[in-house]
């Protein structure tokens, strides 16, 4: 029995996911340019782990491998996770995070389309809570002119945890711009003084701001290609801007500019790639506004008052929790039930 309609558009899940992966490439390119190729190693590691665990879980769940391995969704999880954690993180960190995300957050819920939580963000949250120390190995951007770790050195550290002789970890890694900001504010410094530190560029952190711009470029492509809905990035960035702006205007000594919030940390990655994940996101128009605005608020709260350096991942998870309710309570009026029409 074949029911109408008998024609469909040529689009497919795999193609949609592929476009998302393509859109990540500008950001990754900037990443490699400013921080060296170590990130490519974690992306590869994460991808292999993701595909392997995906295959294992499909096998265990007795589902066909080919269509689900080729839908590219596991790769997105892998890439997002790899991009969220430090590139110099030891190999097992990447493997554990990815495997946990794919196994627990994705397949225990029934695989593609059934997950409640964003698998990549679950992986990230598990890592930052379980291994907070290893999650601080952020590479110093090469713009700062310090000692630079060669690719071989990076590989050596990722897989064996050893650095070339005479090099200390502190010399090649640093705290993220957001983390530094928080620590220094805590120490009593003012925003303007902190911003004068060498790690900061025009918008946010040197190097990392360019990566954020790369993600924004890819994200704008996604929006124009209608792969993701424009509403979520717009509301997210808008709310973040407004909230940060209010605090900044009220007290510029202790609160950074809204642009800093945009280009620091994972805000851009979140706005275009994490919050736009359709499976865990809200599906109604009003719901998406609540969802994105809530995510922006939580991001700002955690960044400014919480104990974690960045709030994007937790904002994603917390809003994932709220989505079923948001969707239930924001169902649009259907045709013919709008009370007299427009």
């Amino acid at each position: 029995m074949w029911s109408s309609p008998f024609i469909t558009t040529p689009s497919s899940v795999s193609q949609i996911m592929l476009r998302v992966l393509i859109a990540l490439i500008p950001g990754i390119a900037f990443y490699v340019w400013y921080f060296g190729p170590a990130i490519l190693v974690s992306i590869t590691l994460a991808s292999i782990t993701a595909l392997a665990t995906e295959a294992l879980m499909l096998k265990l769940r007795n589902r066909p491998l080919k269509p689900f391995l080729s839908d590219n969704s596991a790769l997105i999880t892998a890439w997002l996770l790899a991009l969220s954690i430090p590139a110099l993180a030891p190999w097992w960190l990447v493997v554990v995070g990815t495997a946990f995300g794919i196994v627990v957050a994705k397949h225990l819920y029934g695989g593609l389309g059934n997950n409640v939580f964003n698998p990549a963000m679950v992986g990230y949250a598990v890592l930052i809570i379980s291994f907070p120390l290893h999650m601080t190995h952020w590479i110093t951007p090469n713009l700062l002119g310090g000692t630079e770790l060669s690719f071989a050195g990076q590989l050596n550290y990722i897989f064996y945890g050893v650095l070339p002789g005479g090099m200390t970890l502190d010399a090649v890694t640093m705290a993220t711009p957001l983390d530094t900001l928080k620590t220094q504010l805590h120490l009593g410094l003012q925003v303007s003084d902190i911003r004068d530190m060498p790690i900061y560029g025009r918008l946010a952190g040197k190097g990392s701001e360019m990566v954020a711009i790369g993600f924004a470029i890819g994200g704008i492509y996604l929006v124009f290609a209608r792969v993701v809905n424009w509403l979520i990035p717009a509301v997210y960035l808008g709310t973040l801007f407004v909230v940060a702006g209010i605090f900044h205007l009220a007290d510029p000594v202790h609160y950074v500019t809204p642009l800093f919030h945009w280009f620091a940390g994972a805000a851009m990655l979140g706005a275009f790639f994490i919050f736009t994940d359709p499976v865990g996101g809200s599906t109604t128009f009003r719901g998406r506004i609540f969802y994105a605005a809530g995510a922006a608020l939580i991001t700002f709260l955690i960044r400014t008052f919480g104990s974690f350096p960045d709030g994007v991942a937790f904002a994603a998870l917390l809003m994932n929790i709220c989505v079923p309710l948001i969707d239930i309570w924001t169902q649009p009026k259907v045709f013919g039930k709008k009370g007299g029409g427009k």
């Binding site: 265990l60 769940r61 627990v104 957050a105 397949h107 225990l108 819920y109 029934g110 695989g111 059934n114 409640v116 939580f117 679950v122 949250a125 598990v126 809570i129 939580i298 709260l301 955690i302 008052f305 919480g306 104990s307 974690f308 709030g311 991942a313 937790f314 904002a315 998870l317 917390l318 994932n320 929790i321 709220c322 079923p324 309710l325 239930i328």
Partner: protein, 191 residues
């Protein structure tokens, strides 16, 4: 005023009684299958918990005092049991379905560790009357909030293709764990 607000934020989000303090798991797992039930349970618990916090403060402060401190737990249990009995009668009269659906969990509010835990925490933290009430109310709101959120997720998961052995309570436990993980993001918001 700020202090009261902080108590509320702290009890609802940062030190959420279910997800952070891991109290009151029994009704959290038991009556969160449907949104309406969860709301009903949340409302009943809020009612009981707020009353119990106030009443236990009065008892602790005016009746027991430092001399009879050893009676704290005992008298709290008695008071809570009384309030729960009262709530049960009210619900049975006003909403028989809710009464039926809540089933055994309604009298079990008595043994809901959250309900005894919060008055005891109040005593421990030496809260005054207003603080005790707010602490109780905030804790109950936090309980209700995560109950409702959890029920929303579970209703949605009814249609999910969860592997056979993980259906039902197992995946609910995993979800509760991941929710708890997410709520850790709030840590540090209120010192």
């Amino acid at each position: 005023m700020t202090e009261y607000l902080l108590i509320l934020v702290s009890t609802v989000l940062v030190n959420n009684i279910v997800l952070v303090k891991i109290l009151g798991i029994c009704p959290f797992m038991g009556v969160s299958k449907k949104l309406e039930t969860a709301i009903g349970m949340g409302a009943a618990t809020t009612f009981v918990l707020t009353l119990a916090s106030g009443a236990s403060y009065l008892i602790q402060h005016y009746l027991l005092g430092p001399d009879l401190a050893y009676l704290t737990t005992l008298s709290f249990i008695v008071v809570i049991a009384g309030i729960v009995q009262f709530t049960e009668m009210v619900i049975k009269k006003t909403s028989p379905e809710l009464y039926q659906i809540l089933g055994i969990y309604l009298p079990l509010i008595t043994t809901n560790c959250a309900v005894l835990g919060i008055p005891l925490l109040n005593v421990q933290a030496k809260h005054d009357f207003m603080q005790s009430l707010l602490f109780g109310f905030g804790g109950a709101m936090g309980f209700t909030l995560v109950m409702i959120l959890f029920a929303g997720i579970r209703e949605r998961m009814e249609g999910a293709d969860v592997p056979g052995i993980f259906k039902g309570s197992a995946i609910a436990m995993v979800t509760a764990g991941l929710m708890s993980l997410s709520f850790m993001g709030f840590s540090g918001l209120v010192k």
